[in-house]
């Protein structure tokens, strides 16, 4: 059996990649994808820990996170659509009407 620590390290790496993605990428959609990656790293952590502890709570929480993430996608994409319709861009650097 693969030790839990492997999963945790993998999840930490994915989470870090997500953080880097948010900080360096300029496309709103790619930034959002990076956030989703961070959330999935959390899901992996929770599932791995739940298996190690033999408790279901961690796995149940993963379902809640997935549901919330789906709601977030719906709202996030709607907001991006709104921006594209008015400004024709998804680049966050061009959204500079308000001082960033």
């Amino acid at each position: 059996m693969v030790p839990t620590s492997y999963y945790l390290i993998l999840a930490a790496i994915i989470f870090t990649l997500g953080v880097i993605g948010v900080l360096v990428r300029r496309n709103a959609l790619v930034i959002f994808m990076s956030v989703e990656m961070m959330m999935n790293a959390v899901n992996l952590t929770l599932v791995a820990l739940a298996r190690q502890k033999g408790s279901l709570a961690g796995q149940v929480f993963v379902f809640l996170i997935m549901a919330v993430a789906a709601a977030e996608v719906a709202i996030g994409l709607a907001i991006v659509m709104e921006i594209v319709r008015h400004r024709d861009t998804t680049n966050v650097d061009e959204l500079n009407l308000l001082k960033w």
Binding site: F32, V35, M39, T45, A57, L95, L97
Partner: protein, 480 residues
């Protein structure tokens, strides 16, 4: 095979359920109602019914729904604060909504959904419920921020708020996951019992949770979104989220630190104190030379988050009740200040510049006097609500042997007086010129009534702080 269902009692959740049903009713009626302005009144009625329900619930420390939520005086206090905020916010939005009639139903419903999230955050005794409530409140606010579709800044603010909010949520979640790994629990009591002897993993978890919370209540250095979002959002939404999200965020923040981390105050106390100093100082210095009144109030709200955090960092009973008192006092004075901005801003501009305030006292003497009261209260001038808020949290810091923190707070209040008084000076002591706002303010009774309510409470809390402090003390006693 028999399936046994767990016994579920939803009775203590009744205030939230009432609000939820009202929101759904608003959405349904919106689809076929000809006259939409009644929706606001329906929502207001729902808020009042929810308030009565809150009031009539017993004050026992009951846990319900598998111990996921609590119906203790603490939760009821937060319920009350949120309901008051919601009611005043609905009134503040009334005029703006009449010029956005086709969106009225969605606006009102989202506001109520967000309020449900805020109330649930106050009641949550489990990080899972805290997370879900946080998302209910945030997702509604993201949409509300982008509601003024005719202005480009509104959508831009919504996107910035959404991306940074989701980013913060991910940090929050990772913190929860690590805490689960270290303690094996999601509920605050369970985490608290198993905290002893946990190492790096738990510490990292708490740190990540702190980052998530700090984003939501706008603590420096995680406050970067605040000025942009507050400026871009419709002013009635800014008013609502500046006080509502802050109250709910601090409610969960306080419960988490005092229940789950009660044993390790020696570690997090100084860390939060440092964060408080950074937040107040940064917020106040940045507020000094803002040209937009909304942006100035955004930085001021960051500074106020810092003051409130002093109460949490003090870690004693006075600090807790002081923080709750602060949230209540801050709600009225900030809603009032934004209400005056709504009154004075040009239709469709969604913002008010400092120069537009020049000499407005000439044309609108009552409004200028009202604004002056809110500004004095925000600056912490006795005998107004804001003074006693600061008095209690700084007093708690002194009591916790953190006198230096109280002194930093008082110095910061002195700095903040500059930009609050600047508003009054511009209104009273400068001649009106071509920049001065020239809107008519005499035909908006609903907005005027909302301002009056806020004004009465700001003065009332200031004159009789004891009553409110006693309620805050009862609310905080159980966490203790």
């Amino acid at each position: 095979m028999t399936i046994t269902l767990p016994s579920i009692s939803l009775l203590p959740y009744l205030p939230e359920i009432v609000l939820l049903i009202t929101a759904l009713l608003v959405l349904v009626i919106d689809t076929f109602a000809g006259e939409k302005r009644w929706l606001v009144w329906l929502a207001l009625l729902g808020t009042i019914v929810a308030g009565v329900t809150t009031w009539s619930l017993s004050l026992g420390p009951t846990l319900y729904l598998q111990d996921m939520l609590a119906a203790d005086p603490y939760a009821l206090f937060i319920d009350m604060v949120v309901l008051i905020i919601t009611a005043i916010s609905l009134l503040l939005a009334y005029d703006w909504l009449n010029s956005h009639a086709h969106q009225q139903g969605e606006y009102v419903a989202l506001l109520l959904f967000s309020a449900v999230g805020m109330m649930t955050m106050g009641a949550a005794t489990n990080v899972i419920t805290i997370f879900v409530a946080l998302e209910i409140l945030s997702l509604s606010l993201y949409v509300l921020t982008g509601f003024a579709r005719e202005r480009l800044t509104s959508g831009e603010a919504a996107l910035k708020y959404f991306l940074l909010g989701a980013f913060a949520s991910a940090f929050f979640l990772y913190g929860v996951a690590l805490l689960y790994g270290a303690t094996g629990h999601f509920d605050l009591v369970g985490i608290g019992k198993n905290m002893a002897g946990t190492g790096l993993m738990a510490a990292a978890g708490v740190a990540l949770l702190l980052v998530g919370f700090s984003f939501k209540v706008a603590l420096a250095p995680f406050h970067m979104w605040t000025p942009d979002v507050y400026q871009g959002a419709p002013t009635s939404v800014t008013a609502f989220m500046s006080v509502g999200a802050k109250a709910a965020g601090f409610a969960a923040f306080l419960r988490f630190f005092h229940v789950a981390l009660a044993g390790s105050y020696a570690t997090w106390g100084p860390a939060l104190a440092a964060l408080a100093v950074l937040t107040m100082t940064w917020g106040n210095l940045a507020a000094l030379n803002q040209e937009s009144v909304k942006r100035m109030l955004a930085y001021s709200s960051i500074a106020h988050a810092g003051y409130a955090l002093v109460g949490l960092a003090a870690g004693n009973a006075l600090g807790m009740s002081g923080l709750l008192f602060y949230l209540l006092a801050y709600a009225f004075m900030n809603l009032g200040a934004f209400g005056v901005i709504i009154m004075l801003e040009k239709k469709g501009s969604g913002d008010l510049s400092m120069s537009a305030l020049r000499g407005t006292a000439r044309e609108h003497p009552l409004l200028a006097a009202t604004m002056a009261v809110f500004m004095f209260s925000l600056a912490g001038v006795p005998p107004l609500a804001g003074f006693f808020g600061k008095f209690y949290v700084f007093g708690a810091a002194v009591k916790a042997n953190m006198t230096w923190l109280a002194i930093v707070g008082i110095i910061n209040s002195a700095i903040s007086a500059y930009y609050y008084l600047r508003v009054s000076v511009l209104m009273y002591m400068v001649e009106p010129d071509e920049n001065t706002t020239d809107v008519a303010t005499n035909n908006r009774p609903v907005l005027a009534f909302a301002l009056l309510v806020a004004l009465v409470f700001v003065i009332g809390i200031g004159l009789w702080p004891g009553i409110w402090m006693q309620m805050a003390q009862q609310a905080a006693a159980l966490l203790g």
